[in-house]
C-alpha cells in the first residue's frame, strides 16, 4: 500500500476553500454593515413633478420628484430643514442596483463586498462603502457623533471567519 501526497492538489483544494471562506465572510460582513448603516428616511418615489415657489418675491418653478406615498413622510427621527429640503427636492433620490428607486437609503444601498481573487498566496476581499459621506458616519464629525457600521460588522464576523478558515484547513488536508 502506498500513501502519496500531492502538494499541488493540497494547494488547489486549500486555495479554493480559503477563497470561498473569505468571500463568504466578506458577503456576511457587507450584509451586517447594510443592516447597521443608519438610515433616517426611505420612501419610494415614482415620477417627477413641477412645483412653484417664491424666492424673495420672485416666482420660480422647479422640477421635483413626486412621492408615491402620502405627502406626510414617516421618519423615525425628526429631520433638519436641510434634510426636509433634500427629501422634498429629490436630492436624496437613490436608485438601488436592483433598479428600485427610493428617497434616502443611499449609504445602506451602496455597501457591497468585493470578492477576493483565487490563487493566493494573499487573499484580500473588501467590504466597500463608496458613499462620499461614509467616513463621516463611521467616524463622526465635530457636529455629529460617530455611528460605526463597518467596523462592528467586521468584529461580528470575526468568529465565523475563524471557523471558515479552520474548515478550509481541514478540507485542504484531505488526501
Amino acid at each position: 500500500m502506498t500513501n502519496t501526497f500531492s502538494t499541488a492538489r493540497f494547494w488547489s483544494r486549500f486555495s479554493a476553500a480559503v477563497t470561498a471562506g473569505i468571500n463568504a465572510s466578506a458577503e456576511e460582513a457587507a450584509e451586517l454593515a447594510r443592516q447597521r448603516a443608519p438610515v433616517r428616511k426611505v420612501e419610494p418615489y415614482v415620477s417627477t413633478a413641477r412645483r412653484t415657489f417664491r424666492v424673495s418675491g420672485e416666482v420660480r418653478t422647479q422640477r421635483l420628484r413626486e412621492l408615491s406615498g402620502p405627502t406626510q413622510l414617516k421618519v423615525p427621527t425628526p429631520l433638519t430643514s436641510r434634510g426636509r429640503y433634500e427629501l422634498r427636492s429629490g436630492r436624496a433620490a437613490f436608485t438601488r442596483p436592483g433598479g428600485r428607486a427610493t428617497l434616502g437609503g443611499r449609504l445602506r444601498g451602496e455597501i457591497h463586498a468585493v470578492p477576493s481573487e483565487s490563487g493566493g498566496p494573499v487573499w484580500v476581499a473588501k467590504v466597500v462603502s463608496p458613499t462620499p459621506y461614509a467616513k463621516y458616519v463611521e467616524f463622526g464629525t465635530r457636529h455629529a457623533r460617530s455611528q460605526p457600521y463597518l467596523r462592528p460588522a467586521l468584529a461580528q464576523v470575526r468568529e465565523s471567519f475563524r471557523a471558515r478558515m479552520k474548515a478550509a484547513a481541514r478540507l485542504g488536508s484531505v488526501k
Binding site: R145, S146, R158
Partner: protein, 138 residues
C-alpha cells in the same frame, strides 16, 4: 455572580487617562464620550465605542471591545503628541475593570481626520482605535 458590561471598560479607560495628571492637565477641554459640548476648549479627547461583541464559553465571558480614542486640537503637532502620550498611557496599562480581568489593551489602528471649521480654521482629529479584551467568570 454579578456580571458587568462594556460600561465598566469605558469607566476604566477614563480613569486611566485621568490618573495620569500631567497628560490630563494638557487636555484642557477634558475627556468626553462621543462629542464634546459646544464651546469646549481645545484640546480635548473623545472616547467612542466601536463594537463590543460578547463571546461566552462554558466557564467565562469575553468582551472583545474596540474603542476610538481621539484628540481634537487646532494644532496638528500638539494633537499628534497628545495622541502619542495617550497611547503610552492606555496601552497595556488599563486601570482595573470592575468585575472583569483585562486580557489585552492594544492600539490596532490610527485615525487622522482633519476638518475645516466654519471660520476657516483647521481642526485636527488624531487618535487611534484600541482593542480591549476582558474576561469575567460566568
Amino acid at each position: 455572580m454579578t456580571r458587568s458590561t462594556e460600561a465598566m471598560i469605558l469607566r476604566a479607560l477614563v480613569q486611566t487617562v485621568r490618573a495620569n495628571t500631567s497628560l490630563y492637565s494638557q487636555l484642557s477641554g477634558g475627556i468626553h464620550e462621543g462629542n464634546a459640548p459646544r464651546g469646549t476648549a481645545y484640546p480635548f479627547a473623545t472616547i467612542d465605542l466601536v463594537a463590543a461583541p460578547v463571546l461566552d464559553d462554558w466557564t467565562g465571558r469575553q468582551i472583545q471591545s474596540d474603542w476610538d480614542v481621539v484628540v481634537w486640537h487646532e494644532q496638528q503637532v500638539e494633537a499628534s503628541n497628545l495622541d502619542s502620550a495617550l497611547m503610552n498611557v492606555i496601552e497595556d496599562n488599563l486601570a482595573a475593570v470592575a468585575g472583569q480581568d483585562t486580557l489585552i489593551t492594544r492600539r490596532i489602528a490610527g485615525i487622522r481626520l482633519p476638518e475645516v471649521t466654519e471660520e476657516g480654521k483647521r481642526l485636527y482629529r488624531i487618535g487611534g482605535t484600541y482593542r480591549i479584551w476582558t474576561d469575567q467568570p460566568l
